[in-house]
Point group: C2
DNA sequence: AACTTGAATGAAAGCGCTTTCAATAGATGC
DNA sequence: GCATCTATTGAAAGCGCTTTCATTCAAGTT
């Protein structure tokens, strides 16, 4: 499909009076050339407006200078921030980000993995550790580094946070405040090990405190503000409604606050709410949200750095980033 | 770098007892093969776990099945939503999205354009119409379709919204409410034609109403909540402070409300605030934000569709999507 | 002065696929 | 019955680059 005009490496070579090999070296390994030759080649390339063909380079060298990333969705403050951090870190090394989203479907993720691997990405970033055996097999057969984020497993290098701890910190904060009936609104648990871990962490803390988290005090919702509202509504309509709520992500927690507000229940005096994420926005809603802050940007940066290390043969270990409770105005003592 | 194992097209051909050409056809033009042959080839491919090499395909065919997108940043609800919409539309056609961000720097955008074009994207999406002449030249020489979003110019196909009208609608709403001193907080105007157009639209409406928008009633800030707060603070500290504020984007407007709140000024009774964007969040802050709603997701979808049309040789025209004022609780009458 | 060595460059063989161009073989038309 | 199609398939020439492997030549070495 490429039309007549495009300047190719051999044109530059002819113009500069050198062999194609020399031009190739001028691009990828300039230190191999004499200053004089290098300057001449560069001048020709610049004058002709030469742009190396990435596909040809990738085919010949086996490296595409491209990293793939598959996230549940780009339309989320969380993943958007992580990807932005990744992208800007990768750009510094001359790598580009090829993105795909699966919107919560394991099959779509498998398809994306196939597609990205087929495109010859030099590395792949995925979210969470849960996926079908076939997808895992594909990843293991892939000849490129894989980095999991948020949650890891023993199989791949990962940049994780302790989701269980995050859930626990949220619960313990409320327990410490004297709450005895604590509910939780999470996103879909299916194909989402992050949410499951947070729920498990909260539940463990509640059980240890002798409170427990019975099923009717847990509501599983879509990860949207509306989901948060719906979850909150469900829990508040119980005969013995909770006095405090944990949101599996900040967005859900904010939705909970909103629903409470709509029902004339004041937060935190009538209902304490704590989130998990530490969105910028959460500090700015009213009342400001107590939340377990996760270093999202760091996840992206570190995932990129880990991938860069692995790509160039340097070792890289799985990392776990710290999480931290940030107490703001949406929680208060009870009883 | 590729190691021994990877199955290639010729392996499948041998296994299926056909020529490489036939396998290639089985992948890209199955209708050319007899059902029997096709089935045999597919079975072999499946059994061997064959994954076509994207770089080789791209090199041989001149198409990479990849679309590039360059946005100011991924870490923004706006661009994240547009990209998600684009990505999911493209995925349906088997295309992948290669993303880059320039974070407000024209030079970074030029670099990204070079990089993506070099990678052989089959089409390119850009935000806004303002860029250096060199970048424009590069785009014009590119043999792939270019689609601008948000703002267009005569040079390229575009999927736009009327930013000027958005600014005007925001201003006219406040004017209609009786406000006589109206300020505006925008993001950086440099390398951001969207913000400039919104400012211009608001200013035009204010001038027509005999009010005008003197420079000291306009504050240029970073596009963050903190920027909104700072801008609001600046304007409220004037000797004759405004009674209403327009935010160049919702985030700035929300920052304004927050600053007002922090200063004990009630919104909307003490200060009316209107935004431009229609973020989901804006309906959920307190008070809910009056804003000019922009169809962000549609921009992404349409940009993808336009690109798909152009890529396959179908015609596609520049589109302008409607904007709409959504009145909520952050604005009220004055005087 | 003959011998290494290292730096700079070129020649040429692919990388794994797509795509003309031909060839073959039934099917169709007159 | 022979020319003409049409549907299938194969052969082979690249796509534009990278990368051994050689070669050349100047600088050290002994």
């Amino acid at each position: 499909m490429r039309q007549g005009g495009r300047i190719k490496l051999s044109d530059v070579a002819r113009d500069a009076g050198v062999s194609p090999a020399t031009v190739s070296r001028a691009i990828a390994q300039p230190h191999l050339l004499s200053e004089e030759t290098l300057a001449r080649v560069r001048a020709s390339a610049l004058r002709l407006g030469y742009l190396p063909d990435g596909a040809a380079r990738a085919l010949a060298s086996g490296r595409s200078m491209t990293i793939g990333a598959i996230v549940p969705t780009l339309d989320s403050a969380i993943f958007a921030r992580a990807l932005q951090a990744m992208q800007s870190t990768l750009a510094q090394e001359g790598f580009l980000l090829l993105v795909a989203s699966h919107e919560g479907h394991a099959a779509a993720e498998a398809q994306a993995v196939r597609s990205l691997l087929g495109r010859g990405v030099d590395g792949l970033m995925l979210v969470g550790a849960e996926r079908s055996p076939e997808t895992v097999a594909m990843l293991k057969e892939a000849r490129v580094p894989i980095v999991l984020t948020w949650c890891g497993d023993g199989n791949f290098t990962a940049v994780t946070i302790d989701n269980t701890l995050a859930g626990r910190l949220a619960a313990e904060h409320l327990i410490g405040l004297g709450h005895r009936r604590i509910g939780m609104v999470t996103g879909q648990l299916r194909f989402n090990d992050r949410q499951r871990a947070r729920l498990a962490g909260a539940r463990a803390a509640l059980v240890e405190a002798g409170l427990g988290l019975p099923d009717q005090l847990h509501s599983e919702q879509a990860v949207t503000l509306a989901g948060g509202r719906a979850g909150c509504a469900t829990l508040l309509e119980l005969d013995d409604p909770p006095t405090a709520l944990i949101g599996g992500i900040d967005l859900l927690a904010i939705g909970c606050m909103e629903e409470a507000h709509a029902r004339g229940i004041a937060v935190p005096s009538g209902l304490s709410v704590v989130g998990i994420d530490g969105l910028d926005m959460s500090a700015h809603v009213s009342p400001s949200l107590t939340t377990v802050h996760l270093p999202i940007g760091r996840i992206g940066t570190l995932a990129a750095e880990t991938l860069m290390a692995l790509v160039s043969g340097r070792p890289a270990a799985t990392t776990m980033l710290p999480v931290e409770l940030v107490v703001r105005r949406s929680t208060t003592g009870f009883g």
